[in-house]
Symmetry: D2
Subunit: 226 residues, 4 copies
């Protein structure tokens, strides 16, 4: 490989979930020293403590996922499920960023890469809680990105959908004809992305190649949203 | 006036704050029966109770505002201020909508109009908490709008900035030359909107004239964002 | 009606096509003096001459439509069809605006309302020429709007799709089950807009109620795009 | 380097202008065989002929630039300058794509990367012609991208601004204090991008790493637009 992250220390959160495994594999191949964390970031003070114990990091990969509660109409959504999306995806994002930004400002360099969702950008039925929380992430990164840009710290977000994932797209679902038809209609590219493809975009955003990107939420969805 | 809300019952929340007074004045002129609420919507169960006690409403005006904490860098933001924006603007929005949508679906008609913020759409330094919460509102309305559209219920959001308001733009600030220069640079129109102008857009979204609008966040900012 | 255009002189182009008839009917009801033009705006000098002969106008309704050539793949698109979209929709828009802006600047007031297309904002197969030309309109209005805002001239565009129209949606097509299924899938609201509903939005943008809108392209598509 | 374009044949148009030199240098380093063309693409039939004579190409880099006529108000814009932007940037883009897409569909693989402009996405005074033409490019790529996606052909556009370039930002301008102040205000990152940084993004979009991107116009502007 090309060593595009040679000499970089990278923290990946929720390392066994969502985009964690594919990210760790690729980033390690590219020369990064990856710190993989699996602790519960919803605990009070945990984000702050994690950054403190990790020490200097060049790249924070905020990989935060919650159930998406797809299929539950807004009228049936339980209060705890509503709050779950914010507790798992929004508050820890702020906790992590607030804790890591000072060291990045001190070094006048740093990258924050968020695995977010395209549902932050485009409406979809029966995912109101998830959409709201994912949009909060996008809005946060937009303003944070502008705020920290002058310190040469770049924060950006991947607004993804239709990426292979055993939780959101279990094999059984993928084999259904109805799913395949829906995929052909919804996604111009006509297939799911592999996790590797998604990690390749995160690699771009984590590397020095993306220094001019500021607070962006970039669709990664095979054309579902552009 | 034209009676554009003749025969409509409209609930306006946080009625004494933000866009409440201008909305109530205009909507009343246009023939609406306005129920003005000033209760604290952050209390558990309060949104549900408010809708229950109000009875049938044709239009919900979700007028929810919190301090915006402008000028506080992300590294200095207090935890309680972070949560304040979500507690005042995001969770009550869901509470109100979840409570009111069933009656609107039952009647196959209804409007939800949210006074949101253009900071949901465009990054700005030192307003990370506010931007995140306002973006959560926009993301919520985007998906809610799509979900309830088939029931002829329309939910839309005004993504506003630079609207006259004694809290965000006190007279003292407005008289400063530095503020006027900044306004000329940031806002192509070169002035603040009046609250009345803003309420006129809410009137459009609350009336039958906007039946084809679904889950949109429409900039209202004199060109600051488009 | 409410006289929302009382005392206004309004020029509507291509008056017998597309959104012309519905606009003229509604705007006249609202008190406007409507000048309906049906001349061929692709002729050299015609836009300039039209504005000159019309005299003072408060509102320009740029109603410009061409065939959309739907169903023709990019590889099969004839050169003359490609150019047709620009010749009918883009160059006359500039011709009209360039001719009318000086009198609006002189009066420090004026509105330009463009009936555009949501295909300017969202990709769709087999409409490349049409999308490009409609996007050119949106981009033009975005920058024109910013440029003329300080003179209290507002230029905005309706980014519409799925509006009743005998050319784009002939009755025969509308009766097909396949069309109705496609409509249910593509348009969250589940129906076409009436031309009247669309004209009501144009009325808002043409009236004094929209003074704070600057260079915007606002989706009007039942949720197809937001 | 990493050979990220190993074995690829790449056509770069207008090779001595705009982003041509930086692209050719980087892409060659990355293993591509670069065909650099400098012919006048406004000539009738030239795009078709160029693709025919070039033979199989894996990546088309549509590097098309015209004067931007900054500073000329819409009322003063000469007709020939208006048409110049479309003749140099829009019609050749279609000519090139129409000519190259059939071979890419035949191979079920191909990339089209357009160096476009962020003025396609955000309004700016005194660049109406340029904005319109650049927006036409973005709208074209949006629909073309959706149309060809199912053939595994990806078309995307870099919506750039504030990139070093001797024509748009001559050294003399860059040394002015007024320019530096404007830069600090307009661009959150506070500096121009180097052409190399821009080419690195084009490299990503030209390589196999971007297979899941469909018809997108991605801001590259240091935060000027997001």
């Amino acid at each position: 490989m090309a060593g595009r992250l040679e000499g970089k220390r990278v923290l990946v959160t929720q390392a066994e979930d969502y985009m964690g495994p594919a990210t760790i594999e690729l980033f390690t191949e590219e020369g990064a020293e990856v710190i993989a964390d699996n602790s519960d970031l919803t605990e009070t003070g945990r984000c702050q403590a994690l950054i403190a114990q990790t020490g200097d990091i060049d790249v924070l990969v905020a990989n935060l996922a919650s159930p998406n509660f797809t299929g539950i109409q807004v009228t049936d959504l339980a209060d705890e499920d509503w709050h779950c999306t914010f507790d798992m995806m929004v508050h820890p994002l702020h906790g992590l960023c607030q804790a890591v930004v000072p060291q990045m400002i001190a070094r006048q360099a740093g990258k924050i890469v968020v695995y977010g969702s395209a549902t932050a950008l485009k409406g979809m039925p029966t995912v109101t809680a998830y959409s709201a929380a994912r949009a909060a992430q996008a809005g946060y990164i937009r303003s944070l990105g502008v705020e920290v840009a002058k310190h040469n710290v770049q924060a950006n977000l991947i607004a993804q959908n239709y990426v292979e994932n055993p939780v959101y797209y279990p094999q059984k679902l993928r084999e259904k004809e109805s799913f395949q038809k829906s995929l052909a209609r919804q996604v111009p590219l006509g297939r799911l992305a592999t996790a590797r493809e998604d990690a390749l975009f995160a690699l771009f955003l984590a590397s020095n190649e993306s220094d001019f990107f500021v607070g962006q939420s970039i669709p990664f969805s095979g054309g579902w949203t552009q």
